[in-house]
Symmetry: C2
Amino acid sequence: MAIEIERKFLIKDDSWRARVESESHIRQGYLSGDARLTLRVRVRDDQAFLTLKGATKGIARSEFEYGIPPADAEAMLAEFAQGPLIDKRRYLVREGGWLWEVDEFAGENQGLVLAEIELPSAEQSFPRPDWLGAEVSDDPRYFNASLARHPFRRW
Amino acid sequence: MAIEIERKFLIKDDSWRARVESESHIRQGYLSGDARLTLRVRVRDDQAFLTLKGATKGIARSEFEYGIPPADAEAMLAEFAQGPLIDKRRYLVREGGWLWEVDEFAGENQGLVLAEIELPSAEQSFPRPDWLGAEVSDDPRYFNASLARHPFRRW
């Protein structure tokens, strides 16, 4: 179990692309989700994960993640996923010693790009890259579970 | 992933106890459950498991099970379990070459004893032990997820 502290931002421009260290392809779906508990299946390139996340309390939430066989992940997504799958490319971007995850969405969420940083504590400060836009950590529309139900292109 | 075909019975008397091969202590809770999908955390002696089960179709249902750290299981049960935990002793009982699981419930379900057999196909026949009572495979009251919400002692 981990307590996850993440902050999430829009982006202002594409200059982050010059700082990409690596990228991966992510497809994920939500098997059940309510205010208390979210159950996610993610396929990242050739690996798969089952993740339980608790309710967000401020910007922290409990998280439990386990590697699972990709064939299990595909079977679960086919049988249980609610709504269309989230499809995105995730870029790791290093700025001022900090690692950002920049997610560029495809499919029903095409046009949306979000930058996230994981922090060791809620009080931790960090440099704001020039390309960073408005913070949306607390806006539930940008939760991936929400984006599966109410995709960006229909906003 | 496995397709699980189980048949479940009440018992008529205690003569199964003479055929017990081994026993274990099980505590389990349901983190979320609807008609489509059940999410269970089980602690069996010093091991723990996270299990997803699909909707029962006749006597078959899909099942995905993963071993997890016991500390994770306890944290998940504390944060997410719906209703009181199921607490039972599970006895493995061999009869005519077949292995039965006999569950003797404690706590809110004290007084209930159920025998289950797992079969390779829905059509598979098997010998009925003398102690076997009425079949309850299709009675939703005896699903463990139901017993967590509506325990036997309150029936």
